[in-house]
Symmetry: none
């Protein structure tokens, strides 16, 4: 479920954050569902509990999960901390990657298809703007 690459340049805790975000966004993990405990996950992945906690803390500050002392960590319901600043940042990142993609020879059609696929993967559970 969590494939970590300990050799990667990307820090382990960031990989964890990414992976968990993904699971939350695709609703594999649903609202208020309990996440594996810090210690258990640490044992399972054979990494240090502190590293897990760092990931969980980051996810919490980004609004994806919430942690309660003595009880555990849980998935937040929908919308994370969304301020327009963050949205701009994401758009900007996408722009850069898209232009690189086009330069590398990925066609517009492929990109459109990509969006469709992603929407299909997520959209299922949520009412989207498909019926304006």
């Amino acid at each position: 479920m969590f494939e970590l690459d300990v050799r990667s340049r990307k820090p382990i805790y960031e990989q964890l954050v990414e992976r968990l975000k993904e699971l939350i966004i695709t609703e594999v993990l649903t609202a208020d569902e309990q996440l594996p405990s810090v210690r258990m996950l640490a044992q399972q992945l054979t990494i240090n509990p502190n590293t897990i906690q760092k990931a969980y803390r980051e996810l919490e500050s980004q609004g994806y999960i919430y942690s309660i002392k003595g009880k555990g960590s849980f998935v937040s319901a929908a919308t994370p901390n969304l301020n327009s600043e963050k949205i701009e940042k994401v758009k900007n990142e996408i722009s850069k990657l898209l232009s690189e993609a086009l330069y590398l020879g990925i066609t517009k059609n492929e990109l459109y298809k990509l969006i469709q696929e992603i929407e299909a993967a997520i959209g299922g559970g949520i009412d989207d703007d498909q019926n304006p």
Copy 2:
């Protein structure tokens, strides 16, 4: 020409790599054009020459530029290291960002518009599949 943000979390050498990629992709820097020398650029940007060199090395390994000992660094002709592996990687990154964007509430239409804009900025120079 090179606006570096010393406050950014992103390492300066990475910013340089990104910016130069951008200039190459948008064909502001054209094939076989000579890049400013490491020393000159370092002096101009008042940053450490090692940092410039690291950026150039990175661009070379990604296939965007090539260096000739004793002469300098030059822009590669179009298509950099075009292995399918890299394309997959970029697609993957885009997927992640797109799904996060949708989760954050950015609409499909906005994403389509983004693609259009980017294509407009680049498109002229590259043959795309716009007329299938």
Copy 3:
């Protein structure tokens, strides 16, 4: 009557303390009124009795309630542990929060309004210096 947010970072017992203080301050709970028993409240809120007890102990040590063995817990008559030390502490906390508020862009007028509102909610029962 007691709306606890199990998702909050704030420990449940602290939420209880806060809520009970509020009820006492706004005189919903009046002097010498009996508080619900630890067990009843625990059952009603479906939380651990130890948690309730911890809250009651805290309120007692702060002078808001008093407990009589074998009889129960009761609201103290007005003025809790009114030592100047505590007043200084509260003032200090307020100062910090106010300066952060101003820094975040909340205007003085908003703060004044806040004070007015709170006084309106409480004021009736306490003699204030509103007519100097």
Copy 4:
């Protein structure tokens, strides 16, 4: 400059965050000023560097400072990450404290005076809404 209470219930790193916020808000530390390095401060306060870093990281995620690998940590220019959600939260905290203050016998006038003082301490450097 930094008076830490290692015995306090409040975690050391939180005390640090508070204190640094205070220094930034009151403009003792000004925009783009360099903070003491993680290691230096750790040595000076005789606490573990990780603890300092935790504080710095928290301040960064709240938008008060920014850190650059290899260079140091610096005070952000003015406005931190201000979303309306956070403002509401601060207002709420203030409300609670104010009502407790009034209950403890602090008068409205004292509170007004407190606001004036704080404004004086901060306002000096910034143009406030005193001239509408």
